[in-house]
Structure formats: structure tokens, C-alpha cells
Point group: C2
Chain length 196, copies 2
Amino acid sequence: MGEERKSARERILETAGDLFYREGIRAVGVDTIIARSGVAKMSLYRNFASKDDLVCAYLEAIGQAFWGWWDKVAARHPDDPKAQLKALFASLSRWIESPNFRGCPFINTAVEFRDPDHPGRAIVIGHKQAVRARLRDLAERAGAADPNRLAGHLQLLMEGAYVGGQTLASEGTGESVASAADALIEAACASKRESP
Amino acid sequence: MGEERKSARERILETAGDLFYREGIRAVGVDTIIARSGVAKMSLYRNFASKDDLVCAYLEAIGQAFWGWWDKVAARHPDDPKAQLKALFASLSRWIESPNFRGCPFINTAVEFRDPDHPGRAIVIGHKQAVRARLRDLAERAGAADPNRLAGHLQLLMEGAYVGGQTLASEGTGESVASAADALIEAACASKRESP
DNA sequence: ACAATGATACAGACCTGTCTCTACCATCGC
DNA sequence: GCGATGGTAGAGACAGGTCTGTATCATTGT
């Protein structure tokens, strides 16, 4: 047995993540997930209380991957918050033009499940607030005149990039994001000198 | 019969529009639509070939309302494209903070129906391209140094505002949109004087 | 009379979640 | 060494509900 076979849970999460992201959550039934991952139905329901529960696990996994990406990009410019901001948007602009890009998984989930009591929505809102906080922190350390305002602007841009890449493909959305972010960052930091 | 009763078609379109927008399209079945609009099921299927067909009619109606809004706002500043742009974003910023706001119907539809062959997607893409064209036209007439670039930035902001208002409610998204739009418009038009 | 509509039952597909039965495999007692 | 045991997992049937779309019949307004 040379090959280590992954656990049922891992295979389910991997397959479900792929299908949910590509085709949408409501569009993918549990039967499809178990067929595609070669797993028994009971293995799914032993590991996840319900489909909603699986959706939450999917979002958590995506969140981890997201912060992994964020930290990796930021680490390329240690102690240079302004460069980190720009690098994040430059990387984002490349990502949204990839052929596999299907929008932001969090936004997509929030759109698919409109009921405010759906457990997934809390995760989505938590994620977006965390992003906002990290943007504000970077804006502040980058010396923005009004960090809160810059963080708000940049997050708008980020969300716009996510949906723009999906509905307006091949219109140069990626390039737009990077240049708009640059413009806003420079404008926000211009009026304040570093350590005057 | 003092009250003019609307035709079955009108009542269906009205109810479906309301439900689709508030709760999502996949979340609302035709049974709910007919119950809520007090219409027979066959009246629905006599007026619309299928649910997908009803969805398309819904998108067309939203599109008409959207351009009605756009033209009304623009008409408040005749022959002043820059003021029109700003006014559009100011109005948008108010709209997304209304309690009934549930995001952009076009984006929501595109997220709910990921299949590229779904008839609704063509309408969505057509709408977004039309918006882009009108933005570019205004940017050009407003004297932007690079109208294409400004139109791209503004559309990103617009899309961001739509989803931001939905997932990040009560974080001052509306104010952010207006101020970010102002900043980008001013920056884009600064380098070019009007009739020098 | 006639066209549009309401009411209702129904077909067939699909969805989530449960249940049973079987197979494998590691660990433990002896 | 070796059989018993228990945990994990595959296969498939099934229940109960919902969805779209169709068919049939009664009603209403002009």
C-alpha cells in the first residue's frame, strides 16, 4: 500500500469545496458530493451533522487559505505596510483573472443563502469584518491620514474586484483593481509625512 | 368594482420580483409566487414558458427601472457630466443603505446561476457592459485624462458598494462609496483643464 | 358564447437525511 | 501465533418533502 489514502472527511471536504465553489452550493446535492469523492453517504453524515454544517466547514477552510495567502504576500515586504497593501492588491488582481476564478466564496455563499439565520452568514460577516480590521491596521501603519476611510475604500475595491471578475470577465478588471488601489493609497498617504 | 385589478401577468411579475430580490431566486418556488400573487399556476405558465423565462422577464424589468433611476439622476445636472457622475454615486450610496437593500439583482442572479448557458447570465453581462459604456461616456465628457481607466475604477467601486452593503451592513459603506468616487473622479480629471 | 382566470390534483424528478448490511483492518487478550 | 472485538467506511434502499411543469374542471366578466 504505497499510497496513503486520505480520510473520508478530507476527501469529502476537498470535493465539496471544489464543487461548491465552481457550481454553487444549492446547485450541488450531497449525492453528487459522495459520488464524486467515492465516499459512502453515511461517512458524510458521520463527519458533518448536515449539509449546512458541511458548508460551514467549507467556509472555515476557505478562510484559512485566504489568510495563508494574505500572510504570504505580506511577508514579502516586512515592516513596509504600504508595500504590503499594494502587493495584496496586485496579487488579487492576478488571482481574479485566473480562469478558475468564480468570485469570492464568502460573497457567493451570502448571496445563495439570504436567510439571516443561516449559520454560514455569521462566518461570512466575521470574515469580512476581519478583512476590514486588517486593512485598517495596515492603513494606519502605512501612515494614511484617515485609516478608517482608506480601509473602507480599499475593501469596496476588493469586493468590486471579486464580482467584476465574475460578471465582466476579460475587460481588464485585474489591471483596474491594482491601479485604483494605488491611486487611493497614494492619495490617502500623501498628506501625511512619515516621522516628520 | 372600483379598484382596477391588474392583469395576472403584472401581478406575477410584481410578486416574483419582490420575492426573487428579497429571498433569492432558487429559494422561491413557483408555488410561493402563485400563492402570494393570488394567481392560478396555469396563469403563470400561460404567460411565461418556464421559471427561467420568468427570471429573464424579472431581469428585464429591473434593468428598465435601473436606467430610469440613472436618467432621472443625470437629468438633475444637464450638460455637466462630472456632476452627473458624482450625483449617481451619491444616490447609489443612499440606496445601498436603505433597509430594503439586498444587493444588486444582476450580480445575485449571476451568483445563483453559475451555468454559463443559463439565459439570465446573458442579460446580466449585457447590463454590466451597458453600465460600463455609459460610465466611459460620462468620464470622457467629464474630461478625464483616461476615460476608460476611470470608468473601470468607478464600476469596481459600484460593484463593491453593492456587495459591501449586503455583507458589511452598517459600517458606513454608503459614505465610503461616495467619498471614494469623488476622490477617483477628481484625481482623474485634475490633470486636464476644461477648454484651456 | 368566449376568453381569461381560479382551483386543484397529479406526474416525475430531485433533495436531504436515515437505516441496514457488509467489508476491512488494527488492536487486544490469550 | 491467532481469534475476538470495535471503529471506520462502502453500498444501496428508503422515507418524506419540495420543485417544476401539466392536465382538468369550474368560474367570472364582457
